[in-house]
Amino acid sequence: MAFILLVEDDAVTSTILARMVEQAGHQVEIAKNGLAAIELLEAQDFAVLVTDMMMPRLGGQELCEQVRTGERNRDIPILVTTGMIDAERLAWVEMFDGVEVFSKPVDVTKLVERIDALSTP
């Protein structure tokens, strides 16, 4: 069992992802925006961070930047979920190690498989 942080402001998507990740045997914490996620990341260790891109009060890109320069969970694998198809707006992903993109609507089976792979020692 791994601790997974899910950052998503859309209630439908977060409900689906949380349910599937929990069914896979992991424990899920949900934050509705990047700022809330930062607080959780500073307080405890997580195995994987799953984050939406467009959110109020700190979006996915800014969250990734703060995580990679923070103290705790600095090297956490990050899975970014996004409906953006503009490659230019996703170019920043290449700047960071350990960040992967999942297009929305999310293929929950593939996302959970990836979470399982990343959280297995």
């Binding site: 409900t15 689906i16 349910r19 599937m20 939406d52 467009m54 409906g83 929305k104």
Partner: protein, 128 residues
């Protein structure tokens, strides 16, 4: 293809139902979450359109696109994407889209509710 099929992909809710261990209440709760949230977001959209607030318009359209596509809606995400793109480009006069958008949201909600009912109701022979 039925009219319902053109609004909501028939397989998505059913796949979610099966992935959740045949939990009908889970699917019904998802649809209810979407319909409740969509109603509220349409009000927010109306205000944002009146105020020509592109940032808010984009945010609302993005959320509706995201959640509706995750439940298998087909037409609504496409319309949301148009609205989102136009707002992101700074187009302010988008009020003409509101009634079309509201109509599409209502159709998607009705279609999702019907899809959820179909999961709980055994299919009759020949039903699409």
């Amino acid at each position: 293809m039925t009219q319902l099929d053109a609004i909501v992909d028939p397989g998505v809710l059913h796949d979610l139902f099966e992935l959740a261990g045949s939990d009908l209440k889970f699917v019904e709760a998802l649809v209810e979450t979407f319909t409740d949230r969509a109603e509220m977001l349409c009000e927010t959209l109306r205000e944002a359109l009146d105020a020509q607030d592109c940032e808010s318009i984009e945010r609302v359209a993005h959320e509706i696109r995201s959640s509706s596509s995750q439940l298998g809606a087909l037409r609504l995400p496409a319309l949301s994407k148009q609205l989102e793109a136009r707002a992101a480009a700074g187009e302010r006069d988008l009020g003409d889209l509101y009634e079309i958008f509201l109509s599409e949201v209502r159709l998607a909600c009705e279609a999702l509710e019907e899809r959820a009912r179909m999961i709980s109701t055994p299919q009759t022979a020949g039903e699409a």
